[in-house]
Each structure stands twice: as structure tokens, then as C-alpha cells.
């Protein structure tokens, strides 16, 4: 089928391209501008004397440490979510009982409950557990609130595994545990990939839990680090924008290397 050109769509696409790229351009260009030059000038003009000094300022102010904290928390969150949710989804799909159905519905109910709603009581619990100002204080609730969507995605994937494959393995005398590792996990790779992307994004984007549950620079995560730069750098907008650019670099690198996996994972999260 031939596809005639669609000028209206083309125009719309160009407009949206500008909407996306103008802020990105200003962000990168200003981050390369000297502070004294940025204050007086027009933000849209490219820098006269491009400099990397602003990036140096950001790196000298703990950026690497904040990033490492975030990566660590993301890894712990992904680990907890997978270890807990894969068996749960297996039970929800393969057994028909009051308990497994109830467990599934429990998570379903949690899908729309925002983590913000429970931050006050969690703060009380975290202090009582002596976890205040630790990375675990952020990782544990973040994992809990990533579970409902993860369970939905995983049960969706597991339902697509044909009954015959279980029967074939049962004839070979395989135990449920063996089936989990030899059949369910390999065939649910797509769903597991989606959950990994989703759970790490929750940790990556998390702001409120780090804001409320941590205090010291030692346990500061990247989002909170960026926020503290606002008051720390003050009118030094080029340094602030340099920190924003730097914060995007790790995900951008993942995007360049593994675009298909990332986009596929996100489509999975939305496509269920």
C-alpha cells in the first residue's frame, strides 16, 4: 500500500521536535557557559568561551557518591522485587485457591495507592527500626511500592506459558521449584526485563523517600543531591544545569547501548 506524504503530521512532528530540543539545547549550552557570561546574556546564545568548569564544580560536590548510592539502592530494589514477586506470580497463575486469589487482589488494590500517602507513618516506623538516614530506609519501601505493578506484569507474562509445557516437565518428574527455574523464569524473560526496567526507574526517580528518610551527605541519593544543589549553587545556574546533564548521562548511556531492551521493557509495562 502506498503511503502519500502527510504534510500536517510532518509539521506537527517538527513542532514537537522543537518543544523537545529547545530545553535540551539550552540545558547543554548553558552548562558549558562561564557563570559571569550566563548571568547577563541570552540563554539561547551559544557560549562564547565554552568551559567544562561547571562539570568540575558538580563532580567536586559529591556527585559520584550520590550516583553510587542511587545505583546501589536500585540494585537492592530490583533484587527484592524479583525474589519476592516471581514466586508470588507463579502461585497466582498456577494455583486456584482462596489464598492465592486473595494475595493477587491485595496487590491489585495497591496499584494506585501513591507512596506519598504513607510517608508519615513510614517515617515513624523507619525511626523505630533504627533505619533512619540509611540507604535501606529508602530501598525497602521503594521495593514494596514497586511490587503491585511488577506482580501485574509478571502474572500477565506467566499466563502466556502453555499448560502443555508444565505437563511435559511433570512427566519427567520435575518439582515445582525445578519448573520455576527451568521453565517459568526462562520463558518469562520479557516480563522480568520489564520489571527490572520498571523497578530500577522507581529507585532512579524516587525523591520523597530520600527527602524524608535520609539526612546526611553519606546516604544522599542522586535526586536529592540535585535538589540540594539548588540552594548550594544559588545563582550559579550553569553548574545546576551541568548537574542535570550529568544525571541524565547514565540512563542515556543505557538507552544508547540497550535501546531495544529499555523500550521493550517500557512497552511491556504499558502494554498490559
Amino acid at each position: 500500500m502506498s503511503r502519500p506524504a502527510n504534510p500536517l503530521a510532518g509539521l506537527g512532528a517538527v513542532i514537537w521536535l522543537a518543544v523537545v530540543l529547545v530545553p535540551v539545547y539550552v540545558m547543554v549550552s548553558v552548562s558549558l557557559t562561564r557563570q559571569d557570561e550566563a548571568l547577563g546574556g541570552n540563554a539561547l546564545r551559544p557560549p562564547h568561551h565554552p568551559t567544562l568548569a561547571n562539570y568540575g564544580t558538580v563532580l567536586d560536590n559529591g556527585f559520584g557518591h550520590f550516583l553510587a548510592n542511587t545505583v546501589l539502592v536500585a540494585a537492592v530494589v530490583v533484587g527484592i522485587v524479583l525474589v519476592l514477586c516471581v514466586p508470588l506470580a507463579y502461585v497466582a497463575v498456577r494455583t486456584r485457591g482462596v489464598w492465592s486469589g486473595g494475595a493477587f487482589r491485595l496487590f491489585l488494590l495497591g496499584v494506585a495507592v501513591p507512596a506519598q500517602a504513607v510517608v508519615v507513618p513510614l517515617y515513624l516506623m523507619i525511626t523505630k527500626l533504627n533505619l533512619y538516614d540509611s540507604l535501606l530506609a529508602v530501598a525497602l519501601p521503594t521495593a514494596a511500592f514497586a511490587m503491585p505493578v511488577s506482580v501485574l506484569v509478571l502474572t500477565g507474562t506467566l499466563r502466556d506459558i502453555p499448560e502443555e509445557l508444565y505437563e511435559a516437565m511433570a512427566l519427567d518428574g520435575a518439582s515445582p521449584a525445578r519448573m520455576l527455574f527451568r521453565l517459568v523464569v526462562p520463558l518469562a524473560r520479557g516480563g522480568i526485563g520489564t520489571v527490572v526496567v520498571y523497578a530500577s526507574l522507581q529507585a532512579w526517580n524516587g525523591f520523597l523517600f530520600p527527602l524524608i528518610f535520609t539526612q546526611s551527605e553519606d546516604s544522599r541519593m542522586l535526586t536529592l543531591g540535585l535538589f540540594t544543589y539548588v540552594s548550594q549553587f544559588g545563582v550559579n545556574i550553569p553548574a545546576l544545569l551541568a548537574s542535570v546533564v550529568l544525571s541524565g548521562v547514565p540512563v542515556f548511556a543505557v538507552y544508547l547501548v540497550a535501546r531495544r531492551t529499555l523500550v521493550g521493557g517500557l512497552m511491556g509495562a504499558g502494554g498490559k
Binding site: V91, V111, Q116, V120, E163, Y229, S247
Partner: protein, 286 residues
């Protein structure tokens, strides 16, 4: 084969660790929020019983209704903006043309930044002394409101575009061919084939948008601090201010309980409307 049917059934107790963990870190706090809403607590020492004082204040001092109004307005306008843009961009990006694939990859870039980073970027861009938008946008009620809508859209439209792109690719080409033979124009094909076929996609995207709009917290904190006045103080922000700025944790817990009930009702409604929870394979009905 009936002997093997029912094989590979794990013991239900395998679900227990997940249930306990989720229960402890998500359900216990919800119950606790409700309990704390009947106390007076400033964050130090122990909560003291306060009866219905917090609820009385919440329901009579007008802050809740105002904040609820802002939250609903922000959600509705954001959903309308994001759905329109994502639908058009997604259908456009689903085309097989090479240039569309390249541009789609560029369109995705904003989503790679965290909400905090995006908020800081627009904090700089909207700065009256520095930014590229003339005037004090965030100083006026409509300016601050539209800024929040735009910034949320800027970050999340790429994600929803992706969902619509996936949905549009599932539409059987033969429908368009049949319509073309019948002489249907481009607009007619979009209205009579694309839109109805994307119904389920739109439902999914809308659910995620509504849930996501409750996470505008950091955007509000960084861009407007709920201002001017309390004109952009959405519910999560109102709760944050009451708890961690004014140290009135009892009142904050009353707001939190309200949020939990509202969000649970919303999720039940969404599950019902979209069939999200139906125990069925995603392959069915395609």
C-alpha cells in the same frame, strides 16, 4: 494426559514472603496513618490522643477542598494534554518510515531524565532573571498551573507515545486497505479505524497517567512550592507541608488517610473499568 494436568502447582506459601513484605511496608503504614490521624504528634516523643480534632480541622478549614480542586484540575488538564499529544505522536511514530523511527528516538530523550532533573531544568528555564520565558511565569496562578501541566507532559508524553505506538502497530493493516478501497479519506480512517482500535491502549495509558499525576510532588516542590499562595498545592504537597514543614503529623496523617481512601477507590474503579485485573492472557481478544 489428565494425570499430568495440575502438575507444577507450587505450594501457596511461596506467595507468603511477598505478601508479608508488602503488608509490612505498605499496608501497615496505611493503617498506621489512619491511627495517627486521631493523635497529636510533632515528630518528637510519642503521639498523644487527640480525638477527632484533626479530622474536624481538615473538613472545616477549607484547605482540603481547595487542594482537592487543584489536584483534580491538574490531573484532568494533564491527562487531556498528554493523551492528545501522545495519541497523535504515537500513531505517527507507528508508521514504517525511516525518518519517523529516527525522530521517535529523539522524542524519547526527555523521559531519560528523572522528574527531579526535569523540574530543575524548567526551574532554570522559567527563572525570570535568567530563563528563556519572559516574565514571572511561576508568579501567576495560571502561569504556575500551566507550567506544571507542561513540565509533566514534557517528561511523560514520550512514555505514553510509546504505548500508543505499540497499540497502533497492532491494528491490522487489512482494515485500512478495506477502508481505502471504500474510498475513505485519511481523517475518516483515523476516526473510524485508528481511534476505536486504540480504545484498550487509551485505557491503559489513562490509568498510568492518573496514577502518575499523583507523583507531581517534586515538580510542585521545586517549581512552585504550592504557590502562588496555595494555588498549586496538590494533596501530596499539602500533606508534606503539614507534616514536615509545620510538624503537625496528626493533621498530615488525616490528609494521608484521605489520600489512601481516594486512591484505593480510584484504583478499584480503574480496575473495574479497564478489566486490568481480569485473570486472562494478554493474547486473548486480540
Amino acid at each position: 494426559m489428565s494425570a499430568a494436568r495440575g502438575a507444577g502447582r507450587p505450594h501457596p506459601s511461596w506467595a507468603l514472603p511477598a505478601v508479608l513484605f508488602f503488608g509490612f511496608f505498605a499496608l501497615v503504614p496505611m493503617a498506621l496513618a489512619f491511627g495517627l490521624s486521631f493523635t497529636s504528634w510533632n515528630g518528637l516523643g510519642e503521639p498523644r490522643p487527640a480525638g477527632l480534632a484533626n479530622w474536624h480541622a481538615l473538613l472545616t478549614d477549607g484547605r482540603l477542598t481547595r487542594s482537592l480542586g487543584v489536584t483534580v484540575a491538574l490531573t484532568v488538564v494533564s491527562c487531556a494534554f498528554q493523551t492528545t499529544a501522545a495519541l497523535l505522536l504515537g500513531v505517527w511514530a507507528a508508521g514504517p518510515q525511516r525518518n519517523r523511527a529516527v525522530l521517535s528516538a529523539v522524542f524519547f530523550v526527555p523521559f531519560l531524565l528523572s522528574s527531579t532533573a526535569v523540574s530543575l531544568l524548567f526551574y532554570a528555564l522559567l527563572d525570570p532573571n535568567f530563563g528563556i520565558v519572559p516574565g514571572d511565569t511561576l508568579g501567576t496562578t495560571s502561569g504556575a498551573f500551566l507550567a506544571l501541566v507542561f513540565v509533566g507532559g514534557w517528561q511523560f508524553i514520550p512514555f505514553h507515545t510509546l504505548i500508543y505506538q505499540g497499540g497502533a502497530r497492532q491494528i491490522p493493516e487489512v482494515l485500512y486497505q478495506a477502508a481505502a478501497i471504500d474510498g475513505a479519506g485519511r481523517l475518516r480512517r483515523f476516526r473510524s479505524i485508528t481511534l476505536p482500535q486504540l480504545r484498550n491502549t487509551a485505557a491503559t495509558s489513562l490509568v498510568l497517567m492518573v496514577v502518575g499525576s499523583l507523583t507531581y510532588f517534586e515538580t510542585v516542590l521545586i517549581l512552585t512550592q504550592g504557590g502562588p499562595g496555595t494555588d498549586t498545592a496538590i494533596l501530596p504537597y499539602l500533606m508534606y507541608e503539614a507534616g514536615f514543614k509545620a510538624y503537625d503529623f496528626g493533621y498530615a496523617s488525616a490528609i494521608a488517610s484521605f489520600l489512601v481512601v481516594a486512591a484505593t477507590a480510584l484504583s478499584l474503579l480503574l480496575v473495574r473499568v479497564t478489566g486490568f485485573g481480569a485473570m486472562r492472557s494478554t493474547r486473548e481478544g486480540m
